[in-house]
Assembly symmetry: C2
């Protein structure tokens, strides 16, 4: 999952995911939506592909990229133990007026 977090660090790559979340797209379409030239996008797509975040399907000369959302499940899982913590804090914040601190460690 290291590769996924690494891939997510770049804003351009996040934009690509954002687009693919709506619908699959060709490399050209993605490149048109980004402020960088096509070869750069191509390399971003390679990173995303190697991280398992996207899938490619070839249709004649076109390469159609599609999101593979399952790849993000690893991040979600990594986040899990932290989620418990910040939610506890939120709870504490919200209920702290009404009740005393029950289960504070």
């Amino acid at each position: 999952m290291d590769a996924v977090l690494q891939a997510l660090a770049d804003p351009s790559r996040r934009t690509v995911l954002e687009i693919l979340r709506r619908h699959p797209a060709t490399a050209g379409e993605l490149a048109a939506a980004l402020p960088i030239a096509r070869p750069g996008v191509s390399r971003h797509l390679r990173v995303l592909r190697e991280a398992g975040l996207v899938d490619v399907r070839q249709d004649a000369q076109r390469r159609i990229y599609a999101l593979r959302p399952e790849a993000l499940a690893g991040v979600d899982q990594w986040l899990e133990p932290y989620r418990a913590l910040w939610q506890n804090r939120m709870d504490a914040l919200h209920t702290e007026v009404a009740r005393g601190k029950r289960e504070r460690k």
Copy 2:
């Protein structure tokens, strides 16, 4: 939240968070747990601090770092729309034998 995802890209920094998830720690303790020298850790800690992921409290010469899990809520939120997607896929996978494809787009 960009800064957070950026910060999460580095494995050393993730290790720091992992440690702080258990208990607060001094810079020295964190450095001892990592394969890099103290100044390097110090810089990682600065990145984490600037991303809002950790808090520092000074105790004499020691700097005690503590996790700020709320900073990760942004990542969780970013993940949200994707979560729906991969969970649908899971559902589809699991129920696809029993039922037909109900709400496939």
